[in-house]
C-alpha cells in the first residue's frame, strides 16, 4: 500500500498530543471522565499513527531517514524544522507511543493526591510531544528545544503529585538537567560556528566536522559539553544522584515515564549526535565513558544492596542498567550500539513495569519499606508472579528482553572499535560481568524479601491488599507480552536498528586502519579520524588528525 504518511506523519504524531491538550483546556476540570477519555483517545491515536509509521517504514533501508520533513524554521539562525525517522529512533519512538496510553489507563482510577486529572493528563500529553519530538528531530536547535520541553511537565509532575520530599527531588531533577543542557547548547553552538555549517542539521554538521578539520582540542571540549548534557540525563555515574530522589518521589506514572523514556533521551543523544558528529573526540572519550559506565554498574548494584525502599532500589538498578547501555555505546562498534538500543528498549519496558508494580504495591501497603513487606505471593499471587517475571527479566534471564540488552553489551566490549584500547575494554567486560552477578543478587534478594514467606502481621488480614485489578491488567499485559516477545525474538529490534547504527558510525571505526593502504583510508575519510598507516595497532588512539 502506498505510504500515506510520508511528509506529514511525524508532524502529526508529534503534535497530536497538543491538540488533545487544547481540547482538554476547553473542558472544565470537574468533568473528569471526559478528560480521561480525551487523553486516552489522543494517546491511542498517536499510537495508531505509530503503528502506521511502522507498517510503512521501509525495512530495507533502515539507515535512511524516512518520512522526512525539511522546512525553514528560524531563518536568522538557519535552524530548520528537519524531522525524520530511521532505524535508530524508530524503536524509541514506538516505545514512547506504547508507554503513554498504558500510563493513562493505569492512572484511570487512582490518580495520586491531589488528584486533578485534568492537569495531570495534560502534563503527560505535553511530555509525549516533547519525547517524540526529541527522537525525530534532526536539527540541533530543534533537538534542544524538544529535549527541554520535557523538563517542565516532569518537574511539575514530581513537584505536585510526588511524595513527601517532592520539592527537593523535583528541584534537583530540574537543576541537574538544565545545567547539562545549558552546556550542551553552548557545545552545539560552538560546533556550528567552528564547522561553518550552513544549517544546524546533524548530517550537515557531521560532514563539515570532517571537511573543515575542527581542531582536536576543540572537538574534545565540545564533546565534553555534550557529554555533560547527555550524561546527566542518562544518568551516568557520578551525575546520577538526582535519579534516586526523582524516582522515589515521583508519582508512579511519572517514574514509569522517567524510566521508560526520559533516561533514553540521554543515551539517544550520544548515539545520534555526540558520536556521529565528533568521531575523533568519541574515540578519545570512549575509554572514560566506558570506565564511568562500569563504575556505574558496580556502584548501582552496591547501592541496590543497601536500599531499604523498593522504589529507590529500582532507581539504583536503573543506574546499573544504564551503565550497560553506556558500555555498549562506549565500544563504538555496530554490535555494541545495537546492544545499547536494545538495552534502552528492554530497560524501558522492564523498569517501567517494575515501577508500575512498585506503585501498585504502594497503593495496597501504603509503604515500600522492604523490611515491612513480605508474602506478596500469598496475598496477591498474580501480582507476585508478575513481579517475579519482571525481576527475572531485569537481571537478564535469557528468554526475556533484559538479556538481549546486557549480554551483547558485555560481549561487544571484548572487541571494541578500531583505535580503542582493547585490554582496558576487556577489563571493563569482566567488571560488567561481575555486575550481572551482583544484579542477580540484589534482585533475587528483593524478590525473596517482598514476595516470599508469609505476610507480615500488620498486613495479614488487610482487605486493601487485592490481586491485580482490571485496569492494571490492561496496562500491564501489553508490556509483559512485549518483554517476552523481544526476549524470544530479539530480531524484532535488531533488524530495525542495525542498518541505522551501521550508517551512523564512522567507517574507520569498523575497520583496522593499520591494514589499509593510504588510498583506501583516504576514500573512507579515515585520515581525519586516525593517523593512517602508523601501524601502531590499538594503542595509537591519541594520534592527531590532519
Amino acid at each position: 500500500m502506498e505510504n500515506l504518511l510520508d511528509g506529514w506523519g511525524i508532524t502529526l504524531a508529534t503534535f497530536s498530543p497538543l491538540v488533545g491538550v487544547a481540547i482538554m483546556l476547553l473542558i472544565p476540570g470537574e468533568r473528569e471522565e471526559r478528560h480521561k477519555v480525551v487523553a486516552l483517545a489522543t494517546s491511542l491515536w498517536v499510537a495508531f499513527i505509530g503503528v502506521l509509521l511502522l507498517l510503512w517504514f521501509d525495512m530495507g533501508e533502515t539507515g535512511r531517514l524516512q518520512y522526512v520533513v525539511d522546512e525553514m524554521w528560524i531563518d536568522v539562525i538557519r535552524s530548520r524544522y528537519l524531522v525524520g525517522i530511521d532505524g535508530m529512533s524508530l524503536p524509541l519512538i514506538l516505545l514512547t507511543m506504547f508507554i503513554v496510553p498504558l500510563c493513562i489507563i493505569y492512572s484511570w482510577n487512582h490518580f495520586p493526591e491531589p488528584r486533578n486529572p485534568k492537569a495531570f493528563l495534560i502534563l503527560i500529553l505535553i511530555l509525549e510531544t516533547g519525547m517524540i519530538g526529541t527522537f525525530v528531530a534532526q536539527d540541533m536547535v530543534l533537538f534542544f528545544v524538544f529535549f527541554e520541553i520535557v523538563l517542565l511537565p516532569m518537574f511539575f509532575m514530581i513537584a505536585v503529585w510526588g511524595g513527601d520530599d517532592r520539592r527537593y527531588a523535583s528541584l534537583k531533577f530540574f537543576l541537574f538537567t538544565l545545567f547539562g543542557s545549558a552546556l550542551m547548547l553552548v557545545s552545539f553552538l560552538a560546533l556550528f560556528f567552528l564547522t561553518g555549517a550552513e544549517s544546524f542539521a546533524f548530517t550537515e554538521v557531521a560532514d563539515n566536522v570532517l571537511a573543515h578539520g575542527v581542531s582536536r582540542t576543540a572537538q574534545l571540549w565540545i564533546f565534553g559539553g555534550m557529554f555533560l548534557g547527555f550524561g546527566i540525563k542518562v544518568p551516568m555515574f557520578p551525575f546520577h544522584t538526582w535519579l534516586p530522589d526523582a524516582h522515589t518521589q515521583a508519582p508512579t506514572v511519572g517514574s514509569v515515564i522517567l524510566a521508560a523514556v526520559l533516561l533514553k533521551l540521554g543515551t539517544y543523544g550520544f548515539i545520534r549526535i555526540a558520536i556521529p558528529l565528533l568521531p575523533e573526540a568519541a574515540v578519545e572519550w570512549a575509554p572514560w565513558i566506558g570506565l564511568l559506565a562500569v563504575v556505574g554498574i558496580i556502584y548501582g548494584a552496591l547501592g541496590c544492596l543497601a536500599q531499604t525502599d523498593v522504589k529507590r532500589l529500582i532507581a539504583f538498578s536503573s543506574v546499573a542498567h544504564m551503565g550497560f547501555v553506556m558500555l555498549g555505546i562506549a565500544t563504538l562498534t555496530d554490535f555494541g550500539i545495537n546492544a545499547a538500543i536494545m538495552g534502552m528498549v528492554a530497560h524501558g519496558l522492564i523498569t517501567g513495569m517494575l515501577f508500575f508494580l512498585a506503585g501498585s504495591m504502594k497503593d495496597r501497603y501504603h509503604t515500600l519499606e522492604i523490611s515491612r513487606l513480605g508474602g506478596l505471593l500469598v496475598q496477591a499471587p498474580r501480582m507476585g508472579w508478575i513481579f517475579g517475571i519482571c525481576v527475572m527479566a531485569s537481571l537478564g534471564l535469557p528468554g526475556l528482553a533484559g538479556f538481549w540488552g546486557e549480554f551483547p553489551a558485555i560481549l561487544s566490549s571484548y572487541s571494541p572499535a578500531n583505535g580503542l584500547p582493547v585490554e582496558t575494554f576487556r577489563t571493563f567486560m569482566v567488571v560488567a560481568a561481575v555486575g550481572t552477578v551482583l544484579a542477580a543478587g540484589y534482585l533475587l534478594w528483593l524478590l525473596q524479601r517482598v514476595a516470599f514467606g508469609n505476610p507480615p502481621e500488620e498486613f495479614a488480614d488487610n482487605p486493601e491488599i487485592v490481586d491485580v485489578t482490571r485496569h492494571e491488567w490492561m496496562a500491564w499485559a501489553p508490556i509483559l507480552a512485549l518483554i517476552v516477545a523481544i526476549g524470544i525474538y530479539p530480531n524484532l529490534v535488531f533488524r530495525v536498528t542495525d542498518g541505522a547504527v551501521d550508517a551512523s558510525l564512522n567507517d574507520c571505526l569498523q575497520v583496522n586502519t593499520a591494514e589499509l593502504t593510504d588510498a583506501e583510508a583516504e576514500a573512507l575519510g579515515c585520515a581525519a579520524v586516525y593517523e593512517v598507516g602508523s601501524g601502531g595497532g590499538h594503542d595509537d588512539h591519541a594520534a592527531a588528525g590532519n
Binding site: 536568522v76 517542565l152 518537574f155 511539575f156 513537584a159 505536585v160 545545567f179 553552548v186 553552538l189 560556528f193
Partner: protein
C-alpha cells in the same frame, strides 16, 4: 559674530513631519489627558486610562507607516535619526507602555491615587523613551534621559501615604541624579576631546586615537557607568530592590521593562555609534558588567522572600544577559550587527515576559494583599489559570523552550560563541552556569505556587479585571509566539546601527 548667532537662532531647521509624527501624537495625547483633567475634574477619572491607552495605540499608527516606508530619516544634522532600530525600540516602548496602562487601571483607581496626573506623567516618561530611541547626540540623549526619568521619580513615590513608597522615590531620585552627574561629567570629557556632541563625530575622534587616550577612556567609562545605573547593571544596581519594592507595582513593571530598555537604547547608540572604534575600552568594561550583573543578581535573588525584590534582582541578572553580546561586539562589524540584534531581541522578549510576570503578581496580590512569596503558596489550588500564566512567564525568564525566553538566551549564546575567542566562550560558560542558578529561584516560586498547600484564609475572592486579563493575554501570547516561531521577532530585530555610525 553676534548677528550670525542671531541668524542661526532664527533659522528654522528642516523638519520631517512624518518622522516626528509618533512624538507629536504622543505629545498631543499627553496634552489631551491633562486638558480633560482640567476641564472635567473628577468626572473624568473613569475615562483617563482609556484615553491614555487608546492614545498610545494611535501613536503606533505613524510608527507603522514609517516602518512601511522604510527609509532612514536624519534630522538636525544627525542628532535625531529615525531608522529601523529607532522604530523597533519605539514600538517596544509604546507596547510596553500600553501594557503598563492596562496594569495600572485598577491599581491606581482602587488605591484612590491621583489618576490624571499619573497617566500624564506616564505618557511624558514614554515621550522621553521614544525620543531616546532616535537620539544620536549627547545633548538629545541627555534631554531624553531627563524627560523619561523625572516623571518616573514622581511615579515611584505615588503611594504617598506609604513610607516605603516615599523612601523609594527619594532613593530613586538621589541615585538617578547622581548617575546623571557622573554621566554628564563623562560627556563633558568626550565633548572636550572631540569638540562636538554628535556621536558620529565623537566616534571619528575616538577612533583616530590622536586625542588623549586616558581622557577618552575616562569619558567612555563614566558615560557607560551612568547608563549602567539606568539599566540596573551590577555594581550600579543597589537602588533597584528598594525602589521596586516601594513603588506601586505597575510602576515597578514600567521601570523594570521600559526604563531599562531606554537605558539600553542609549547604551547601544553610544557603543555602536559613538565608541565603536574603541572596543578595547568598552569591551572589557561590558564583559565585567555582564559577568558581575548575572552572578551578583542571581546569587542575591536566591535569598529573597519578597517576590518583587526577587524580580528586581532577577532583573539585574537579566541585564547581564542583555549586555553580554556587547562584550564581543567590537570584534567585527558583522559580529557587531549580530550583537545588536541579539540585545534588541532580548529586550523585546524580556518586555513581554517580565510585564507578564508583573501582571500575574499584581493579579495575585489583589487576592492575597501581599507580595511576600509565602502568600503565593498553593495558588494552583485556587487560581490555576494564573499559576499556569506565571509558569509561562517565569519559565520564559529562565529560558526554557518553547517559551520566548529561550530564543533570547539562545541569541546571546550564539553571538558569544560565534566570536570564537576565549573571552566570548568564557562569558558563554558564565552565562550557562547563571542560567541554572536563575532557574533555582524561578522554580522555587513555581514550586510554592504548584506544590504547597493553600492557606485556609486570607485569600479574598477578587475577580480578574478585564484590563489585567488583556495584559496577561497579550504578554502570554507574545511570549509563546516568540518562543515557537522566533522568526516573528527576529525579523523585526534584525537591525543595524553601524551602517550609519561606523
Amino acid at each position: 559674530m553676534g548677528s550670525q548667532l542671531l541668524l542661526l537662532a532664527f533659522e528654522r531647521p528642516a523638519l520631517d513631519w512624518h518622522a516626528l509624527a509618533p512624538e507629536i501624537v504622543l505629545l498631543s495625547v499627553g496634552g489631551l489627558v491633562t486638558l480633560i483633567d482640567i476641564v472635567f475634574l473628577e468626572r473624568a477619572r473613569p475615562i483617563t486610562a482609556a484615553v491614555a491607552g487608546l492614545g498610545l495605540l494611535a501613536t503606533a499608527i505613524p510608527l507603522l507607516t514609517l516602518a512601511l516606508d522604510g527609509s532612514d530619516r536624519v534630522m538636525f544634522g544627525g542628532a535625531y535619526v529615525v531608522d529601523e532600530f529607532a522604530l523597533v525600540m519605539k514600538a517596544i516602548f509604546i507596547l510596553a507602555g500600553y501594557v503598563v496602562i492596562l496594569l495600572s487601571t485598577n491599581y491606581v483607581a482602587e488605591g484612590e491615587y491621583w489618576e490624571n496626573e499619573y497617566y500624564g506623567l506616564l505618557l511624558a516618561s514614554l515621550m522621553g523613551m521614544v525620543m531616546m530611541a532616535s537620539s544620536r547626540d549627547l545633548i538629545s540623549l541627555f534631554v531624553a534621559l531627563e524627560l523619561l526619568s523625572i516623571p518616573a521619580y514622581l511615579m515611584v513615590a505615588w503611594r504617598k501615604r506609604d513610607i516605603r513608597s516615599t523612601e523609594a522615590g527619594l532613593k530613586y531620585y538621589l541615585m538617578g541624579v547622581f548617575a546623571s552627574a557622573v554621566m554628564l561629567y563623562g560627556m563633558s570629557l568626550l565633548f572636550g576631546v572631540s569638540g562636538s556632541t554628535l556621536l558620529t563625530d565623537i566616534n571619528s575622534v575616538v577612533t583616530a586615537g590622536g586625542a588623549s587616550v586616558s581622557v577618552v577612556t575616562l569619558g567612555i567609562v563614566f558615560v557607560v557607568a551612568g547608563f549602567g545605573f539606568k539599566v540596573s547593571a551590577a555594581p550600579f544596581h543597589t537602588w533597584a530592590p528598594d525602589v521596586y519594592q516601594g513603588a506601586p507595582t505597575p510602576v515597578t513593571a514600567f521601570l523594570s521593562v521600559a526604563s531599562k530598555a531606554a537605558g539600553f537604547v542609549a547604551l547601544l547608540a553610544l557603543v555602536f555609534v559613538g565608541f565603536y572604534g574603541r572596543p578595547e575600552v568598552w569591551e572589557p568594561l561590558v564583559w565585567t558588567l555582564a559577568a558581575v550583573s548575572m552572578t551578583v543578581g542571581n546569587l542575591i535573588a536566591l535569598r529573597q522572600t519578597n517576590i518583587v525584590r526577587m524580580m528586581a534582582y532577577s532583573g539585574v541578572a537579566q541585564t547581564g544577559f542583555m549586555i553580554a553580546p556587547l562584550a564581543v561586539a567590537g570584534h567585527s562589524t558583522a559580529l557587531g550587527d549580530q550583537a545588536l540584534s541579539a540585545t534588541v531581541t532580548y529586550l523585546a522578549i524580556y518586555a513581554a515576559m517580565n510585564l507578564g510576570a508583573f501582571a500575574v503578581i499584581i493579579s495575585l496580590a489583589r487576592r492575597t494583599g501581599s507580595a511576600e512569596m509565602s502568600s503565593f503558596a498553593g495558588a494552583f489550588r485556587y487560581a490555576p489559570a494564573m499559576t499556569v500564566a506565571m509558569t509561562i512567564f517565569l519559565g520564559s525568564l529562565a529560558g526554557i523552550p518553547p517559551l520566548g525566553g529561550w530564543f533570547a538566551k539562545f541569541e546571546v549564546f550564539r553571538v558569544l560563541t560565534s566570536s570564537g575567542d576565549t573571552w566570548g566562550y568564557a562569558l558563554a560558560v558564565v552565562a550557562a552556569v547563571n542560567a541554572v542558578i536563575a532557574l533555582y529561584y524561578y522554580a522555587s516560586v513555581l514550586l510554592r505556587m504548584w506544590a504547597d498547600e493553600a492557606p485556609d484564609e486570607g485569600v479574598a475572592d477578587v475577580a480578574l479585571t478585564p484590563s489585567l486579563l488583556s495584559a496577561l493575554v497579550i504578554c502570554g501570547g507574545v511570549t509563546l509566539v516568540f518562543g515557537v516561531l522566533p522568526q516573528v521577532v527576529a525579523r523585526f530585530t534584525d537591525v543595524s546601527l553601524l551602517a550609519l555610525g561606523g
